[in-house]
């Protein structure tokens, strides 16, 4: 079923790209539209992944697949959404500095909890036992199907973000991000808006986290560090913070470049892959963030073209 040229590395690389695109799209709604600098993306994603993993492995479910997956994934989404509600409430009336502390603190707290509650989560050792909710043949076939399913979810997120731009809700988000006091003077409840934005986007991040857990088959606290937030952020910033497609373009050029092109196709000595490349990847991402924001802050795709958009939707 799976085309033979798709090696396991490639599937894994594509999966990373798809996953980070999903996170970057959600970050676009928070950072690009509402101008909330969420440095804790990995917190919601990791919370979803661990909630899913712990429930999946530790609970003795009376029913089998796919219900076990669906129930655990739903729980993961709900828990992440509630966390989003809480964090949204905490940071909703704070300035950028407070948002940094709140979101970074949250992500750190999630990592701490995952490490210390090791009887539940396996802690620093990690925990296996997560699996696909189906079995259609070879490992590669299962992985490919999961890649396709996750891609479908991310396409749905992309569609949502695309529609948000064309809806009164998106307009409100842009207004809140652009001039919050002015939006309030128009009677808009901006605090509540930011609160529910966070709840919804965090829930989606949690779902993606659960789906990542399935692919990884393993929970590892090392995977829920700041590198995930970095990948989403650099992809979004490079592509264009203000554009829906910015997340897609930017992530392909960063995560795609490293996790697919360099990992799979560049003929480098083997030790490089395990040691040097991952470190260079992060260093490169950091450098890209600096360079883009210094020289082309709106990224490759530039600014929103709302004049064109309004012309298209409403005519003259």
């Amino acid at each position: 079923m799976t085309p033979d040229f798709l090696g396991s590395f490639l599937i894994s690389g594509l999966f990373d790209v798809v996953m980070v695109i999903g996170l970057a799209l959600l970050l676009h709604l928070q950072l690009g539209l509402a101008r909330i600098a969420n440095f804790g993306v990995v917190g919601f994603w990791g919370l979803g992944m661990y909630t899913f993993g712990v429930l999946y492995v530790q609970v003795d479910w009376p029913f089998g697949e796919p219900f076990q997956f669906l129930v655990c994934a739903a729980a993961a989404t709900l828990v992440a959404g509630l966390a989003g509600l809480l964090i949204g409430w905490l940071i909703g009336d704070l300035d950028t500095d407070g948002v940094l502390v709140g979101t970074l603190g949250f992500a750190t707290a999630v990592q701490i909890l995952a490490t210390t509650q090791d009887d539940l989560t396996g802690g620093a050792r990690g925990m296996g036992g997560l699996d696909f909710p189906y079995d259609i043949g070879r490992v590669k076939d299962n992985e490919f199907l999961w890649l396709a399913i996750t891609a479908a979810v991310v396409v749905a997120v992309l569609f949502y973000a695309w529609r948000v731009h064309r809806s009164p809700y998106g307009r409100l988000l842009i207004a809140v991000g652009g001039n919050e006091p002015l939006a309030r003077s128009l009677g808009k409840s901006t605090f509540r808006t930011k609160l529910w934005l966070f709840a919804v986007t965090a829930a989606a991040m949690g779902l993606l986290g659960a789906m990542n857990g399935v692919m990884a088959h393993y929970l590892d606290v090392g995977n829920i560090g700041v590198g995930v937030t970095l990948a989403a952020m650099v992809g979004l910033v490079l592509g264009g913070t203000a554009r829906v497609w910015g997340a897609v373009v930017g992530v392909i050029l960063t995560v795609g470049l490293f996790d697919i092109v360099i990992q799979s196709y560049l003929p480098l000595p083997k030790e490089w892959y395990t040691q040097a490349i991952p470190v260079l990847r992060e260093a490169a991402f950091g450098a890209v963030l600096i360079l883009v924001l210094l020289f082309r802050p709106l990224g490759l795709l530039g600014d929103m073209r709302r004049d064109k958009l309004m012309g298209k939707i409403h005519g003259r």
């Binding site: 949502y160 064309r166 809806s167 009164p168 309030r184 919804v200 409403h314």
Partner: protein, 264 residues
């Protein structure tokens, strides 16, 4: 009989009551208003020299500037008493109290259409799940918005407001679209060409005639004399004169002393 009707109309105007309101900046008293009721007459004008405290008083009413002392409340047309400082920031517009901005305030990323659709959108359309709500919203409000766009001559509403005058005008139209019951205008015609000033005045007159109370701060005295039913003269933080335009104009010496000869 007519007097009864006039009284009845007066009773159904929303009013704002300022009691013992004081505000100081760096030790200097900028506003000190003992007992003031605004809104009894349809359009009231607030004039005075620079630094008289007019804009600060407006901002105190809107609670953008907190009061050091005192109480400002809204007395809605239907009765009741709402302390304005107790309302959250977005509560003002919900209660129908709207102020235009003296300083240019705009959404840089939003076009003119966006800005006006934003002002007019009801909360139920602005929910995370309403991603297909634009068409319905537009259908409900397009005519109302187009009326203002055509009236004020916005050439291309799919574009962004560029000049200061355009942004000022946009701000005023946003205020109008909010269907205010009490409208505060802070130097609305500053920077506008004469025909647009005329149009703004006409719209304000119509609004006031339909029951909205309007208070307008202005330096352009022609607007004040032509538009206002009553004029308040502020100096050094206090309202020292109040009356209809002819009587204020007649008090020439005071006005002259503060505003210079050419205006009377």
């Amino acid at each position: 009989m007519v007097a009864d009707v006039v009284d009845a109309v007066a009773l159904t105007r929303p009013r704002i009551r300022v009691q013992g309101a004081v505000k100081s900046f760096s030790g200097r008293v900028v506003v000190d208003v003992d007992d003031l009721v605004l809104g009894d007459r349809p359009i009231e004008g607030l004039i005075g020299p620079n630094g008289a405290g007019k804009t600060t008083l407006m901002r105190m009413i809107m609670h953008s500037t907190p009061l050091d002392r005192g109480r400002i409340s809204l007395l809605p047309a239907g009765g009741g008493d709402v302390v304005l400082s107790s309302l959250p920031a977005h509560g003002m517009a919900r209660r129908g109290v709207v102020k235009s901005n003296q300083v240019i305030m705009d959404f840089d990323k939003l076009t003119i259409w966006d800005s006006l659709l934003l002002a007019v959108a009801e909360a139920r359309y602005e929910q995370p799940h309403r991603i297909f709500g634009e068409r319905t919203l537009f259908a409900r409000h397009a005519d109302e918005i187009r009326h203002y766009l055509d009236y004020f001559g916005f050439a291309d509403p799919t574009a962004f407001a560029m000049s200061a005058g355009e942004k000022k005008l946009l701000d005023i139209v946003r205020c109008l679209l909010l269907r205010p019951t009490f409208l505060l205008l802070d130097e609305p015609t500053a920077g506008l060409p004469d025909e647009l000033t005329e149009k703004v005045m006409r719209v304000v007159r119509d609004l006031a005639a339909s029951g909205t109370s309007v208070v307008i701060v202005e330096h352009d005295l022609n607007v004040i004399w032509n538009l206002c039913d009553e004029v308040l003269f502020m100096a050094e933080g206090k309202v020292i004169l109040r009356g209809d335009p002819p009587s204020i104009r007649a008090n020439g010496t005071v006005v002259e002393k503060y505003l210079g000869e050419g205006h009377v």
